[in-house]
Symmetry: C2
Subunit: 349 residues, 2 copies
């Protein structure tokens, strides 16, 4: 049983039901046309049901309630569900782009489709087949997310467009910076804000305000959401290197093999002790061994980069909490948003 | 100079300008944030400018004008531009999924990004890098297309959702049927209708009627658009095997190496002479040589499959033309739609 104070409880189950109902409706129509389409809808349903923190719907929900929404409005539920489906799209495509093997503790979608291809003795390249179907499953999540915004007011639709462009732009710079080994702290922070912080915290809050029809809180939500979104991504970066795969559902070390331009890496690049520099320069190479990853963890710790990122998370989160304290909203909503902030910034998965 | 009767002329240039203006607006904002984003917007702009038949905007335009639109409505232009951007999304993702090397006579987007990766001496896998950026460029086209529907009436937005789900579903079955070597004519026709026919002809016409605010023509547009959309895809299938790459902009033979479930292949599979059966069973394997492709062309011709597909195109197109003749629309619009129908069904590229 979730605690009555759980900030995700009022929305998590309803979001999953809404997504399931949406998928079931389409599934029934489409499998009558082509039985092969069952696997598409089942894959997306399974991906959403397999978990996730539901932070985006929760920020949207409390952002709306704090701005005067009742909480039961169908367009609010739809937008919360849209954010979760958009997140599914982003993760599915991201896993293809990064070649990640696992997600949410299970094989990534493209890996499962590739396995089915091999197991069925089908023709062609299994990897390409798996990636193709995963790209399409992500595309479907993207379209269906979009259909859920139909009843939202124009300002919410404008925000929805903006957050999707921000997400794509952030991912683009992430991929280019990883390949070109650009490791400035400023760039790392920009990427974190755009590829993740915005669509996880600030934009869901803005969407909530727009759905409640009260834009007055937007500036306050930015003052709270922008630093918190960045803290969220910095925590993700730390978990990508130091996290326990049984908690995060993702192998640790992948971010290092992909050379993700994180603040952690940027700081370590400039602070590393001479003996560790050679190893740190190899970040971004796929042939980093597990021992290399262990050695990198130690190097990041030894040079102080890990502590600096932890300190930065505390600084950003405190900043966010102060902004929320200055904000004219009711006590319950404030309490729930504070508790969401802690979940975003301090977590094991 | 296009002829005054050219059915694409009233809309092609305006669509390209509209897309360029949209991209330029976003480009200016985003490169001020991160110069690396210039390449994203430039790639999409170049892809759209490199050509294409602009059939989808033209069907939407004449579908609207025949239903009473003036032709200069901004939401009509926006929807026409959205269809062209959606088409860019579909082609860019399709080329990644199929591993196609060229498009519109130039290296495919993922190939160009992979080349830039190698030429710059960047770290990581060039292929994965190129594919990742192409997926993101496609995602951006998808979002931007969507922003262009903001001013469209609800019925147009509903159709927009539907056509995008149809496109994804059609592509999904295409990929699965190619891998599982399902070669029934019925399945091949279904795939052709959904992955391409619908969003090329029937749905753009429906969108035109919805934008003109006159749904009375929808049934007539289906009677015209459904067979014509299928004829369009059958022509594409023939061009994929028999077309001249300098005209189509795509290498011929790729459809055979990918084992695309076309009506041509389905018919050839059941009609082939005994000597050709072994070769036809190898369709779908990446190691088909150019000589194999030449031999397959001959086999498709010899067994009558090619002629049967040509006959089917004529039958479907005649059907479409008759439906249009029964349709209560003005003479100029009818003439332009007929001329578009010929362009869709009879073409070299």
């Amino acid at each position: 049983m979730p605690s009555p104070d759980d900030p995700v409880a009022p929305i998590a189950g309803r979001v999953q039901e809404r997504i399931r109902a949406l998928l079931d409706g389409h599934r029934a129509t489409w499998i009558a046309e082509q039985p092969a389409l069952a696997a598409l809808f089942d894959a997306l349903d399974g991906f959403v049901a397999a978990g996730g923190k539901r932070l985006r719907p929760a920020f949207c929900y409390w952002g709306a309630v704090a701005a005067g929404a009742g909480g039961d409005e169908p367009e609010l539920l739809d937008t919360c569900a849209a954010l979760e489906l958009l997140h599914a799209f982003a993760l599915i495509h991201d896993d293809v782009m990064d070649g990640s093997a696992t997600r949410r503790g299970r094989p990534a979608l493209h890996v499962r489709f590739a396995s089915r291809h091999s197991a069925s003795g089908w023709v062609g390249d299994s990897r390409r087949h798996g990636e193709g179907l995963a790209i399409l499953a992500g595309d479907l999540a993207f379209v269906l997310a979009d259909t859920l915004l139909d009843r939202a007011p124009p300002e919410a639709q404008r925000l929805w467009h903006e957050l999707r462009v921000e997400l794509v732009a952030g991912q683009w710079v992430d991929v280019v910076a990883a390949a070109s080994t650009e490791r400035s702290p400023a760039l790392a922070r920009w990427v974190g804000r755009y590829k993740s912080g915005r669509y996880t915290v600030e934009r869901p809050l803005h969407l909530g305000a727009a759905l409640a029809g009260d834009p007055r809180l937007c500036d306050a939500y930015s003052a709270f959401g922008e630093p918190l979104g960045e803290a969220f991504q910095l925590r993700d970066d730390l978990l990508g290197v130091f996290g326990d795969p049984s908690e995060t559902g993702k192998p640790s070390g992948d971010d290092l093999r992909e050379g993700k331009p994180t603040l952690l890496l940027a700081l370590a690049t400039s602070l590393a002790e001479p003996d560790d520099r050679g190893l740190i320069e190899r970040v971004g190479s796929a042939d980093l061994s597990d021992d290399d990853v262990t050695a990198l963890r130690r190097a990041f710790h030894r040079c102080g980069a890990r502590d600096m990122v932890e300190d930065e998370i505390v600084r950003l989160t405190t900043h966010a909490e102060q902004a929320l304290a200055d904000c004219d909203i009711d006590a319950v909503a404030r309490h729930r948003l504070l508790s969401l902030a802690r979940r975003a910034a301090v977590r094991d998965r």
